[in-house]
Structures are given as C-alpha cells and as structure tokens.
Symmetry: C2
Subunit: 222 residues, 2 copies
DNA sequence: AGGTAGTAGTGTATCATGGACACTAATGTT
DNA sequence: AACATTAGTGTCCATGATACACTACTACCT
C-alpha cells in the first residue's frame, strides 16, 4: 500500500541475553558470518519478518540462537544510525533478556557452535554498534535493580539469601551489608522461605528462599 | 544490498511534545488526513527518510508540524504491532519532546491549522495506537521527575520556586510541602537565584531562579 | 568422638533523611 | 492606613539507613 521507495530499510532485533555464570554476569555472543565482520563477535540478532512484531522476533532469535524460551524480555532502545550495518540501512530494536540458571541449563543441553557466554568484563570489541547496545542494556539493568525486583529473573526458582546478595553486588559492583540487606528484603516481603535447605557446600546449609508473587508497584529492593 | 522482500515495512516516528499551558500539561495534536482516520486527532509523526536517523526525523516532525526547534528529545519506545497502521506495515519509534514556555512562544508565533495544544486530561481517543504512546510517554515523564532534573526543560529560563513546585505537583498529581520542597531543592544545589524578581502579580514579588549546570549523575529532586 | 574450618544467621545503637507543621515579610490595591 | 494575597523561612519528630561482631550449624579431618 506504500510505494516501494518508502520501504528503504530493513528491520532487525538484537538481543542482549544476560545470565549469571560462576557468579559473573555473562552475555550471549555469536560469531558473525557477514563478510565485512567475518569472525567478529556480535549479539544474536535477526531481521524482523513481515508477520511478526519486534518482540516476537526477539523471542525467535533467542530460541534459534540461544536455544531457550525466555521468560523476561524487555525492549531497550532502537538504533537507527544510517551506516550501522555495512550491508545497507538496518534499523534495529535492541532487547534485554534475562535468563535464570534454570533456563540456562536448557541452553547448555543443546550448545550451538559459534555461540558462547562471555563475562561482561571480558567482552571483545563487537561488530556493528553492539558495544553500545550492551552498554545501554547493562546500564538499564543496573538502574532497575534498585527499585524493581527484576533480579528475580536472574536467579533460580529457589536460592539462598547469600546468592541473592552476591547477585545484587555483582550487578551494582559494590558490596552490601549482609544484615541490612536481609532486614530490608524480609521487611518488604519480596522473598519467603521454601522450608528446604541447600546442602551444596561442606558447611552450614543455608535456607532456600523463593520470590513471592510480583508486586504491582515498584519495590525498594536495595 | 538487501533483496526487496526484506524491506517490507515503513519506518516512522511519532512525537509526543509536552508543554505547560496555564498550569496544565498539554500535548501537541494534529488532525489526520489519512482516509481511515479522517478528522481524528493524532500525534504529529512522519515517515523516516532514507538519509536521516529516527532522532533526526523526530526533530524534523517538530519543526514541520509544531514549528519549533526543540531542545529536549528522548526516545521512548518502538511500536511494531502488525496492524497498527491500516495503510500497511509501519513500525514507529515514539519520542517524548519537552518544550519550555520560551520555546512555546515560537510555536504560537506561527500557528498551524489542524494542530493544537490539548491538556492531557482532555485528550480524545486518538488515531493509530497513539493513546498507548501518550500513556507510555506520560508514565516515563512522571517516573523521571523524581530522580532527574528533567523538569528543567518544561520551565522558562528564569522562574519562581512556586512555579517550579506547581510544575512538579501537576506532573505528580499530588501536592508538595512548600518548605520541604525548597529545603531539598536548595540543599542539592540544582537551582540558584538570578538576583532578579518577578513583579507579575499584585503581591509580594518572588525571587527568580534558574537551573545550575546539569549534573552528570542522578539527582534526588522530589 | 572431638576438633576444626567455613558459611549461615541474627540485633542494636547511631545517624541521616523525610515529613508535618504556622507564622512573618513584602507588595499593590482600595 | 488597612487589607488582601503571595513569598519566604525553621524546628521537631518519625522513619529509614548504616555501621558493626558474635553465635549457630554442618561436613570434614584426624
């Protein structure tokens, strides 16, 4: 219904999928096959198809390139710089995906060649403007950790309070006081005991907690 | 460089330009000429051109349809629902623009037919998904007012503290305490006196203030 | 079995911040 | 000169934030 010259750009999504691995925040990277960037690392992405929304495309990318059906997916920003893709004009909608260790196991089960989890601290220079996308996404996550319970999507269904605290500390990049952290957390009723204990370590077992039903309003987590 | 069938969608920007008029937050609306929505109100928007970014397109829309060169423009969200535009697939990047009364005078100088400022409380049902865009934009503004000094873009270069407080109250939709408001504001050093006074009313003149240089970090405004 | 190493779990005292609250000051108008 | 109206100011209290150190529990080792 629009003349052809109006449709000059391709539409894409790029997804920064984040997950904790060995206590560090990792992002899922793939290896580009596009000639100009041949061999370079990039975020998983794909062109949006005529019959899907950007959100649906992001879900598909995660399924195809990370082999996971993600539970938390949030639009971050749209990048429309003219020469951001050497193949032609591509406008890309960036998404942040958060994966819990539970979901991560499904990824590991069917590992794909050329794709890998890379700690945020060791990310190489990426293809396209993906460096910028990751910076923007990480900043968004860091901001939301303080006033939402977004961290729940990065933790397993059951977790110890120490694990939760370490997750927050990793993202905020500064230590938190154990007693104050627990006091506030329990006062807000964000988590509750499962009744079970973790017996993973060779020491005193920690009580396992789970998140309570998500609140409608904002929470004051940290 | 991409095959033609990849470029199936048109790209657009829609801009929610906000400004205070008579103490109320208003948004700039135009009247659609598109047959399906003929006569309906909508946000000013336009298709992105091949040689401009979304941001540049938003700037252009404001110049063409609101007659103003805006100082504050922020990307809000990208809408990609498949049938959001009856003319065909259009993916739209929504922007929030904030105009000070100073900038507003330039708009009034060359008023355009079919365009008008409408108080947020009296917005009719709009064309496309523009109702949703306005809701999202207003929510973004309300959220940012508390932890940034974004309000500065909605005020004139010089203003009284009462004006500043009323602006915050209007956006937050609840009253603030005069003394506490001033205490916090001055403690943070966000504003400073200009040395001049407003002699507009028939009563005690108020001191005129201006914002200090924008801080790098977040401020705790309210 | 007893000791050791290592993590889990708990409370108080102080300090800073946020919120409630009411009067005096300055100006133009009558 | 009195009045009407808006501008401008400080204290007290409650709440939340922070600093801080010991006991409890378990597996492992000998």
């Amino acid at each position: 219904m629009f003349p052809r010259h109006i449709k000059f750009a391709a539409l894409a999504v790029d997804v920064a999928a984040l997950s904790f691995i060995d206590g560090a925040l990792n992002v899922r990277l793939v290896t580009t096959q596009v000639p100009v960037f041949k061999g370079k690392r990039a975020l998983p992405g794909a062109l949006i198809r005529p019959h899907e929304t950007a959100h649906e495309a992001a879900v598909r990318v995660l399924e195809e390139k990370a082999g996971v059906s993600v539970k938390y997916l949030e639009q971050v920003c749209t990048f429309s710089t003219i020469n951001r893709d050497p193949r032609g004009r591509v406008v890309s909608v960036a998404y942040m995906a958060l994966l819990s260790p539970d979901e991560l196991r499904a990824v590991k089960a069917r590992e794909m060649h050329g794709a890998a989890w890379v700690p945020l601290s060791r990310i190489p220079h990426l293809a396209y403007d993906h460096d910028e996308i990751i910076q923007t996404t990480a900043a968004r996550l860091r901001g939301k950790i303080e006033y939402t319970d977004i961290i729940r999507h990065l933790l397993p269904q059951a977790f110890t309070l120490t694990e939760l605290q370490e997750a927050c500390e990793t993202i905020l990049e500064h230590p938190l006081d154990k007693r104050n952290f627990r006091k506030k957390l329990l006062a807000q009723g964000i988590v509750k005991q499962t009744g079970k204990s973790a017996h993973a370590s060779a020491h005193r077992p920690a009580a396992l907690y789970m998140f309570t039903a998500s609140r409608k309003g904002a929470v004051d987590l940290i």
